[in-house]
Amino acid sequence: MSAITYLEAIREAQFEALRRDKNVFLYGQDINAFGGAFKATKNLGAQFPGRVFDSPISEDAMIGMAIGAAVEGARPIVEMQFADFSSVGFNQIINQAATLFWRTETPCPITIRLPSGGTAGSGPFHSQSMESIYAHYPGLVIVTPATVEDAYWMLLESVQLNDPVIFCEHKFLYYHLKADDLGQPMPLGKARIARPGRDATLVTYSAMLHESLKAAEELRLDGYEVEVLDLRSVKPMDTDTILASVARTGRLLAVGEAFPWGGVTAEIITRVSAEAFHLLDAPPMRLNSKDTPIPYHPNLWKSHRPTTATISARLRELLRY
């Protein structure tokens, strides 16, 4: 098999999901003949006639429709054209989908794909990372794959789950990230040690994994071994794996691309501080984007989000303490 990209993995997972289960269908803007804004559904409409549908520009109704279909036993995969536009469907996601099982014992097997995160030049409304917002709500599973393998296997697993899944796929990884093959499935809900180390624990997910791995490599040149954890899903968050790592290293840095107020990195620090304060040799730290909307110009954009350089700097600070 020739190299497969993160985006192709997402397409392949949808192909496989459609192939395996007649109840799966795809719903989104421009996804049928056009193949989607990013071509994540390329050819699927032709390969699965009557299973891939173009929707009107109605994120609220798109999610509502998927919920109704799920009640009837369907397993819709809804593509938001960009994660940012899921704000228009926010009500249906957090109030209708997320509460359905709890209120009525009716499972809600919908998967909402959110093309997430920043790419240079995309600006404030085509760059957002929404995982922290959705993770706040009970009743949702929030998946944040950082690898080609996870993009494939976790999307397949998401479609099989009987709960609503917010699948945050990172646009920066779409074409940049390649793997030789799709590898092996690893269950959703478990974090992965992406790089072992003994001096500090860096917890991250999605595209920030790759910046973090480069930062860890830089620190190796200074003689530090940084352990990098890939959360894979931010909800559930695999606290045990985080705590076990912190027990070995005594130091914690949490890195995320979302805005800094609250959110996933704050949650990591809260859990470690509350449950493993005695294991820490230094105050836990975190690094997020800046607290402004996401800028358009590449010069500004690169400084807005964490990068290898800013992660390395923060790691040095943590290790010096």
């Binding site: 009107p56 798109m62 509502g64 109704g68 009500n91 109030n95 209120r103 009525t104 499972p107 599973v141």
Partner: protein, 356 residues
């Protein structure tokens, strides 16, 4: 007053009238089913109102459909439990009963017992049994239209839509939401068999319709969505029955969504906590302020379909049913926080421990 006025000519060519109705046995049957649901709903809701005023047993608000029973039930009688899809809203006690919801479900949800469909997790009008085609409304107005549409969509995709139909309702205020627009537009694009009834009861909580929309008549919007519109004097049960029959028949026949606008006045407060003092006195004397239940009982008698004795026996029977159900529910357990599983996901291994 004419029994039924359908939509403007451009929307609906037929103009069913009371005269033709008299000859129609099915119409009689539909009318009487509607009327009985109206009677039952009124009696149940009067009980809910008195429980609320007495205090102590109903937690939270009580929202009544007084005056809207005809419009609601005339739609509900066309829905078959387990086969059609219903997404009712706050003033649809009569429609819910017509659909087949037992009185026990209503009382158990209002009283919050564990035996009810919502098990104390949600209350009052926020109830349903989605797997049986009975969607459980969330508060957010307009958001059920797309959900009902989705259920129909899934059935059609699988090839088992058959003759099933979906129905959802909304108020004048709810038509201003984006969700209403998105949902109806989507259903229209998909040409699904959906009947959306708009109970234009002149107020959204305290807000009059002039502050809600600027079109002449909400039914005019049907044209913009490419759906058929129908307009009814919703205080007139015979008109409601006649027009709803047509709307449901057209939806089932594959003509796509039907928008039915019923004009009436809300004859209760927004909720039982609300004295509705903002409703001008003059409005209470208009034709819209007629009580559809009174009109319906008069119609039953004048059509020779039910006499006073018959009507009284239906009322007595409904009262008995309500009293018995309440007695039963009164003995049932309230939810116990120590037995509650506090789980919002159906997948056990993805549940998080408490990390507060």
């Amino acid at each position: 007053m004419s029994a039924a006025s359908s939509s403007p000519a451009s929307h609906s060519p037929t103009s069913p009238g009371a005269q033709a109705a008299r000859d129609d046995d099915n119409l009689k049957e539909d009318f009487l089913r509607t009327l009985r649901c109206m009677i039952r709903a009124r009696i149940l809701e009067e009980k809910l109102g008195s429980l609320y005023r007495a205090g102590g047993r109903i937690v939270g608000g009580v929202y009544l459909g007084r005056g809207q029973e005809a419009f609601s039930a005339a739609a509900g009688i066309h829905l078959r439990w387990g086969r059609d899809v219903y997404g009712p809203l706050l003033r649809d006690q009569a429609g819910r009963m017509a659909f087949g919801e037992p009185i026990l479900d209503t009382l158990r949800t209002y009283l919050g017992t564990v035996t009810g469909p919502m098990r104390g997790r949600d209350g009052n009008i926020h109830r349903g049994r989605p797997r049986e085609g009975y969607m459980a409304m969330i508060s957010h107005l307009g958001s059920l239209i797309s959900v009902v549409t989705g259920a129909l969509f899934a059935r059609r995709m699988r090839g088992d839509l058959g003759d099933s139909v979906g129905a959802s309702s909304i108020g004048d205020g709810g038509t201003s939401t984006g969700a209403f627009h998105e949902g109806l537009n989507l259903a229209a694009v998909e040409k699904l068999p959906l009947v959306v009834s708009v109970a234009n009861n002149q107020f959204a909580y305290s807000t009059p319709t002039q502050r809600q929309y600027a079109c002449n008549d909400l039914v005019d919007r049907a044209l913009g969505y490419g759906v058929r519109g129908h307009r009814i004097d919703a205080t007139d049960p015979l008109a409601c029955v006649t027009v709803m029959r047509e709307a449901f028949a057209r939806a089932r026949a594959g003509e796509g969504p039907q928008l039915v606008v019923g004009n009436l006045l809300r004859l209760a407060g927004h909720g039982e906590h609300d004295d509705a003092s903002y409703v001008p006195k003059a409005m209470r004397d208009t034709a819209e302020a007629r009580d559809c239940l009174q009109v319906g009982m008069d119609q039953a008698r004048s059509q020779g379909w039910a006499d006073a004795e018959q009507l009284a026996s239906w009322q007595a029977q409904a009262k008995r049913e309500v009293d018995e159900a309440l007695a039963q529910v009164s003995k049932e357990a309230a939810p116990d926080p120590f037995r509650e599983n506090w789980r919002a996901l159906s997948t056990p291994h993805l549940l998080e421990g408490a990390h507060e």
